[in-house]
Every structure is written in structure tokens, then in C-alpha cells.
């Protein structure tokens, strides 16, 4: 009776999984939440992770003491190297630092809180934060809960041509207020799976540099998208080499399969070591009033893996395994839809990259799939390719065919 607390709506993607779990239909398919699945439709603990966890549990020298506020030092530096490259000039110039955070979300949060306090003046709640249209649904909440009053979309997805709306994107970059912050997906855009090409990234960077816009990269799928760490980090590295001061929120949830250990890293590229030092000292204060210091288990697993040549190679193989299965499902789904003669073009299924595909299905068609066919996907038409297996892909392809032909 003290709290007049209204019931909040559940987060859509989790509600979807809940509905899926409650569904009794034997051939149900979950194409909702973004977690990798094997061809048997099972979660996959990476073999290298299993190996490293054994090492940890048997190492009597390890304890459960607090990590430093900014996290495990070796984790921070090796994680930053993964996204920027070992020989990044910025690293060699001692102007790269990092904060170990709770997943990619945590990294975005700390970055957002820091920006709200120190970017473009102080206590800067009016600076526009631009997120892609569409974007991961939590981006809005992260920045608005950090205090930013003006979170806006930048044009990104062209629904008609099912590709990148580059003209719209560049147009928004040209017309937005100076010093606006842009949240950029480093690769495997969520939810569209549509990334700018290298040439397009160059154009984006040119405008951003000229108009003094802040680049905040969200890198949740490095390695997972193409199978190559370098390839998936190209945009981030290009921006660094262009001279941007920027943030990159890294997640190791997907590429290490460490979803529930909450392993993330906020990489900070500053103008010089002195600026970096001051930035990190202020980020430390934000961390202290949010979670004090980060959890150690996941960071240990990643660090041990990244700092051992054999384990690192094994990890790269595991990542390729995941990326390749997704690529296979993409090509098979497209082939089947084409074979069925499903109306429309389906090239976007293989043009898109990463875990997700924006199918282009409209809400009515999505509803049909969920209610009539027990195939669970987001209302936006986003599917998680990992939910596809050799056993269910025919059913899914046929169902999409039905939805497109029966429901307008």
C-alpha cells in the first residue's frame, strides 16, 4: 500500500521465449532470443570454455577476492586488443584503456553515464543520442536511463529495398546537431543483419569527423558474423585509424557463448594517455556507485583463453564453427524459399550477416507464423538464424511460404 506501482509490460523478447516454452506443439520452433544453438537445437558451451573452466576450478591459487573497480587488468587489455588489433597504433601510443563491464549492456551503460556527465559540456542531458532505425531494443533504455533526454533514430533500414538506407543515414549525419552521439553497430547489425560496406563506412566516418560527431560502437558479434575477428572489427579499426576519440562496447556473450557470466569490455580510445587516465578515473566513480567491481568468473575464462596461443586458436575454431553453421542455414533457407517459388526476393537472407535476419515479413504474417505454425519470431520480422536446424528448416521454409502467400 506504500507503492502505487503499475504492472510493467514484460520485455518482448523474453515473453516470446516464455510463450514458446509453454507451447505444447511438437514441431514448434524458436526463432526469437539471440543465443546460438547447435544443429540439435541445443545451447552450446564452447569446448575451449569447458577446458578453461576445468583449469580454473582446479587451480588452488585462484580465490574469489574483489577485482579492481575497473576489472581484471589482463582481461581489459587483451579484450581491447581483440577489437583494435594487437598492433593498433592507438594501443602502441598508450591511449587505449578499458573498463570490464557486465556484458555489452554494462559497457554501454558505463559509457552512457560517462558521456552524460562529461561529454560536450557537463551534465549534458540534452545532447542527442542517435540510434539506428531499427536497433536493439535496449539501446533506447540504456541511454535514456542514463539521463539523456533526446534519444532519436537515424535512418538505417530501407524496408522497401531490404537493405541499408545509406542516403538517409548520411543525410541524418549531415543534418544532426554537432556533437551528437551516434551508436554504431560494429558488425552484424541487430536486428537487420545489414552492415555498411567498407566504402560506405568510409563515407560515414568522413561525415562524422567533419561534423564532430561522437562514435560509440556496439560490438556484440565480433568473430560471430563472418568467422574472422579481423574482418568483423574492420569498421572499428578504420575509425581508430581515422583519428576518432571513441568508445567501443564489447560483448563476449555470443562469441564466447558466455551469456550468463556477463562478460563485457568498454574500450576507450582517447587523444592521449593523459586524457585517457582522467577518463578512466571518472568511469571508476560511475562503476563504484553502480556495481562496485565486476564479476570475475567470465573475465577469467576469456583472459586465460586469449592469452594462451593454443587456447586462442581453439577459440577461433569454435567461433568459426558457429559462424559457419549460421552461414549454412542462411544459404539453405534462401535456396528452399527460392525452390518453393515464394513470392519476393530472398537474397537478403544471404546478404545479411550474423545471428539475425530481417525477413521483411509484416506483423500479420508474423502473427500467422506464431499462432498457426508455432514458429516464434519477433513482431519486427526478425529471426534468429541459430534457431534453424537441418531438421526444422523445411518446416520453416514452407511456413514462411504459406505466410507470404496467404497473409497480406
Amino acid at each position: 500500500n506504500i507503492f502505487k506501482v503499475p504492472q510493467a509490460a514484460p520485455v518482448a523478447v523474453f515473453k516470446l521465449t516464455q510463450d514458446f516454452n509453454n507451447d505444447q506443439f511438437p514441431n514448434k520452433v524458436n526463432l526469437g532470443v539471440g543465443a546460438y544453438r547447435t544443429d540439435e537445437g541445443q545451447p552450446w558451451v564452447l569446448p575451449v570454455v569447458k577446458k578453461v573452466e576445468k583449469i580454473i576450478v582446479h587451480d588452488d591459487r585462484l580465490n574469489h577476492e574483489y577485482l579492481p573497480i575497473l576489472g581484471l587488468p589482463e582481461f581489459r587489455s587483451s579484450a581491447s586488443k581483440i577489437v583494435l588489433g594487437d598492433n593498433s597504433p592507438a594501443i602502441l601510443e598508450n591511449r587505449v584503456g578499458a573498463v570490464q563491464c557486465l556484458g555489452g549492456t554494462g559497457a554501454l551503460k558505463i559509457g552512457a553515464e560517462f558521456l552524460r556527465r562529461f561529454y560536450n559540456g557537463s551534465n549534458n542531458t540534452k545532447t542527442p543520442i542517435y540510434v539506428s532505425a531499427p536497433t536493439w531494443e535496449n539501446h533506447n533504455a540504456v541511454f535514456s536511463s542514463a539521463g539523456f533526454e533526446d534519444v532519436r533514430p537515424y535512418r538505417y533500414w530501407d524496408a522497401e529495398k531490404r537493405g541499408l538506407d545509406l542516403a538517409g543515414f548520411l543525410g541524418d549525419l549531415e543534418s544532426c546537431p554537432e556533437h551528437s552521439v551516434f551508436v554504431l553497430h560494429a558488425c552484424a547489425h541487430n536486428p537487420t543483419g545489414t552492415d555498411p560496406t567498407q566504402e560506405q563506412w568510409k563515407q560515414i566516418a568522413e561525415v562524422m569527423m567533419r561534423r564532430k560527431l561522437f562514435a560509440f560502437f556496439d560490438s556484440a558479434y565480433q568473430g560471430f558474423a563472418s568467422g574472422s575477428l579481423e574482418k568483423d572489427a574492420w569498421a572499428v579499426r578504420y575509425f581508430v585509424s581515422s583519428g576518432f576519440e571513441m568508445f567501443c562496447a564489447q560483448s563476449f556473450s555470443k562469441n564466447f557463448g558466455l551469456y550468463n557470466e556477463r562478460v563485457g569490455n568498454l574500450t576507450v580510445v582517447a587523444r592521449d594517455a593523459d586524457n585517457l587516465k582522467r577518463v578512466l578515473s571518472q568511469m571508476e566513480k560511475v562503476v563504484r556507485i553502480t556495481w562496485s567491481n565486476p564479476p570475475s568468473q567470465g573475465a577469467r575464462i576469456v583472459t586465460i583463453t586469449l592469452t594462451s596461443p593454443e587456447l586462442f586458436s581453439e577459440w577461433q575454431e569454435n567461433v568459426k564453427t558457429m559462424a559457419n553453421r549460421v552461414l549454412l542455414m542462411r544459404s539453405q533457407l534462401k535456396a528452399k524459399l527460392q525452390a518453393l517459388g515464394t513470392p519476393g526476393t530472398w537474397d537478403h537472407i544471404t546478404d545479411q550477416i550474423g545471428m539475425f535476419s530481417f525477413t521483411g515479413l509484416n506483423p500479420k504474417q508474423v502473427e500467422y507464423l506464431v499462432k498457426e505454425k508455432h514458429i516464434y519470431l519477433m513482431a519486427s520480422g526478425r529471426i534468429n538464424m541459430c534457431g534453424l536446424t537441418t531438421k526444422n528448416i523445411d518446416y520453416v521454409a514452407e511456413s514462411i511460404h504459406e505466410a507470404v502467400t496467404k497473409v497480406q
Binding site: 506504500i2 510493467a8 514484460p10 554494462g106 550468463n260 568468473q297
Partner: protein
């Protein structure tokens, strides 16, 4: 004075481009001060004196001065490893079997609140994360004044957490410097004047930083006056089991308030009592009027959690849940927590004995009367500084020492050092 011919203009534009290139977004960012508590450890690490003592951060140490990984924790880890569990995201509110066990530990499994499902407990990022979620929740939903009354003094991180959530901080008298004890009269007096529906934060046991706890009769009077003032009670329980060695005894105040009709909010940490510091295990509980209200509150807690870290880390919660829900491990845990509390009590006694032996003329009884990990020595900042500079004994400026950092091997040195700066 500039001569603006073409060459100059060009040079100027190059210069300004160079400036733009060399200038930073962060030029105006000041260096943040080192965190007073964790900063002590950093300074300690740099000290080369072999006799150095770290009495700063509250992390338990065994009698060899080493971090202590509880056997029940190691056993739980082995059980978990054998299960070969997946790594799928936890729900936003955390591991259900942890949250349930966490609430039962605090309230007692037979508590009417739990039986009628009129509370919600979410897994949080240890105590700090719990306080933060709590502060955010109150900032958004508390209908009364957004004033949080802290005991004077309180844990240093309380103030910035609540402030950053948008709450105002006020204080009630708590610690009496002249006795190094509880200012009961002052506390009642101040609490009786707190505007209705304000929020009062209480340390459930082992008050940090003073180690001074109210006695049960005193808690009863506090509960009565808090009820009269219609205050919202926010309990911070970071040391259940660690204070007296008995988990039920340490939760007595929390349970009494609930029995007394207060619908409290509660932060719990398992950092100290299970030694799970770096795994970040905690819980936040809201006691509601009924199950329906609890469901609504739960839905809003999830909305607050999601934009901070999406969902919590599994490892520590799983360890804690395994311990609490496996009878042999739970018994072992109770023994080990009792052992930790006892070692600290012993160190308190040995420190006082050592000071007496050195011929100290001061009354050090408070060192024994105080409870839990911390001791408010009563030392002044200048004395603390001397202890650090001359003896390499590290503690926070307020004179707080972490008894957990004291061992039978160094308690004599500590007694000598304290005597030296206070005689």
C-alpha cells in the same frame, strides 16, 4: 596581432585543424579522487615495508593473512562443475533458486511473508548493486519524501549511490565518539523528528564502519518510533552470520521489524559471509502488502535492471544457491562462518590485551564491544596518517580498521603501533 594575408589564413587553418586533431573531447575532465576505501589497498600494494598491514578494505583474511576460500564454496563448485550446465542468460531477476534461498536466509523459511508470497527478491550485483537497484526503485516509486536518512556515520558508498539515484541524503545520530558506542538517545531523538514517509536506512548487523550495533531492546524501541513516524525502512544486511557467528541472531532486527508490521526493503550481500566477493552475489527484497503488489513491484524492478546490465552473472549465485539448498553444505557453511566470526572476536581480545600490556592509558573496551569485521578505533586523522606513514598500517581516515586483516602474527605489531601514536 595577426596580419591576415593569404599565407597567414592558410597557416591559421592548418593550425586550427592541428588543434582540432590534437584536442580532446575530454580536455575538461578532472582526475577523479581515488576511492577512499579501495584506494587504501592500492596504496598498500605499493608499500615495500615487510611489516605492512592492510586494515582497509573489508575482506576476510585467515590467521596467515591470506584470502580464505570456504570449503563449502569449493565443494559447491565441484558439484556445479560436474553438472555441465549451459551458459544461457539468466532471467532479468536472476537465478530463481538463489533468490528464494536468499530471502529464506534473511527472513527465516517459516516467515509469513514468504508463505503468503508477498515479497519479491531479485538477484543483484552484490550489496552495491542491490542498494543501487533499491535506490532507483525508490526514486521512481516512493510516494513520500525522497529523503534517505543514514546513520552517522555510514558506509562511504551509501551517499553517492543514493545521490546519483536522485535521492536527498540526511542523517540521524548513531555513533557516540565519547564512548565509541551507540548514541541510543540521540538516535531516538533524531528519528522521532524525521518527517513522515521518509526513508530510513538501518544496518541490520555489524554496522559499517563503527561495529556498533543496537541491542535487541534498543531495536524494539527504534522499531516503535519508526512505526510512529511511518517511515519506510531500508535494511542493509551485508554481514549476516559474520557478526555474531549465528545467522538467525544477526537477522533478528530484520525479522523483528517485519513482525512488527514494517514492509521493509532489504539489501543482502554474500561477499563476506560466503567469501564470494568477486563473484558479486546479492539480493534485493521488497516486502509488499500482498502477492499481487509483489508481482507489480517485480515487473518494475526488471525494468530498472535491464538498462544497467540486462541480467545478472550466474556463477556466484549458483554457488550460493547450492550451499544454501544442500543440507551438508549449508551445515558446513554455518560452521565456517562461525569460525570466521570467532577468529575476529579473538583478534579483538588480543588487540586490547596487547594495548594493555603496552601500558596504554586509554579505555579500549569498545574494541571488544564492537562487532563484525570493522572496528572504529577512535583514532583521529592525524594519528591514522602517522600509523600509515611510520608503521605502514593502512586504514581509512575515519579510524576504521578491518579486524579481518589482523592475525595472531601481527596483532602485537598493531598494538605497538597504535600505542605509539596514542600515548
Amino acid at each position: 596581432h595577426l596580419c591576415l594575408n593569404q599565407t597567414s589564413v592558410f597557416s591559421l587553418s592548418v593550425y586550427y585543424t592541428h588543434l582540432l586533431w590534437c584536442s580532446s573531447w575530454w580536455g575538461g575532465v578532472q582526475m577523479g579522487p581515488p576511492d577512499p576505501i579501495l584506494g587504501v589497498t592500492e596504496a598498500f600494494k605499493k608499500d615495500t615495508n615487510p611489516k605492512k598491514m592492510n586494515l582497509g578494505v573489508g575482506a576476510y583474511r585467515d590467521d596467515q593473512g591470506k584470502p580464505f576460500v570456504l570449503s563449502c564454496v569449493r565443494k559447491a563448485e565441484a558439484i556445479i562443475a560436474a553438472k555441465q550446465l549451459d551458459k544461457e542468460y539468466l532471467p532479468i531477476g536472476g537465478l530463481a533458486e538463489f533468490s528464494k534461498a536468499c530471502a529464506q536466509l534473511a527472513l527465516g523459511p517459516e516467515n509469513e511473508v514468504l508463505k503468503s508470497s508477498r515479497s519479491v527478491t531479485v538477484q543483484t550485483i552484490s550489496g552495491t548493486g542491490s542498494l543501487r537497484i533499491g535506490a532507483n526503485f525508490l526514486a521512481r516509486f516512493h510516494p513520500g519524501p525522497h529523503d534517505v536518512y543514514l546513520p552517522k556515520p555510514s558506509w562511504g558508498n551509501h551517499t553517492p549511490i543514493f545521490r546519483d539515484a536522485g535521492m536527498q541524503l540526511k542523517a540521524y545520530r548513531y555513533y557516540e565518539p565519547s564512548t565509541c558506542g551507540f548514541d541510543f538517545k540521540g538516535a531516538l531523538d533524531d528519528i522521532s523528528k524525521i518527517p513522515e514517509q521518509s526513508i530510513i536506512l538501518l544496518h541490520a548487523c555489524a554496522h559499517n564502519p563503527t561495529g556498533v550495533d543496537p541491542r535487541p531492546e534498543q531495536w524494539k524501541e527504534i522499531a516503535d518510533i519508526v512505526k510512529k513516524r511511518n517511515l519506510l525502512v531500508f535494511f542493509d544486511m551485508a554481514y549476516q552470520g559474520f557478526a555474531s557467528g549465528d545467522i538467525d541472531r544477526d537477522a533478528w532486527a530484520v525479522r523483528h521489524f517485519i513482525e512488527n508490521g514494517h514492509n521493509i526493503v532489504l539489501s543482502q550481500s554474500f561477499a563476506k559471509n560466503m567469501g564470494l566477493y568477486g563473484e558479486r552475489v546479492g539480493g534485493f527484497t521488497v516486502v509488499c502488502k500482498d502477492a499481487e503488489e509483489a508481482k507489480r513491484v517485480e515487473s518494475q524492478l526488471k525494468i530498472l535492471i535491464r538498462p544497467i546490465y540486462s541480467n545478472p552473472p550466474v556463477n556466484g549465485a549458483r554457488i550460493a544457491a547450492t550451499i544454501l539448498n544442500t543440507p551438508e553444505l549449508r551445515s558446513l557453511w554455518l560452521e565456517e562462518v562461525h569460525g570466521m566470526a570467532n577468529r575476529i572476536i579473538k583478534m579483538r581480545e588480543q588487540l586490547v590485551a596487547g594495548l594493555k600490556k603496552n601500558g596504554s592509558s586509554h579505555n579500549w573496551q569498545h574494541v571488544i564491544d564492537q562487532i563484525g569485521m570493522f572496528c572504529f578505533t577512535g583514532l583521529k586523522p592525524e594519528q591514522v596518517e602517522r600509523l600509515t606513514k611510520e608503521f605502514s598500517v593502512y586504514m581509512t581516515k575515519d579510524g576504521r580498521i578491518s579486524m579481518a586483516g589482523v592475525t595472531s602474527g601481527n596483532v602485537g605489531y598493531l598494538a605497538d603501533a597504535i600505542h605509539a601514536v596514542t600515548k
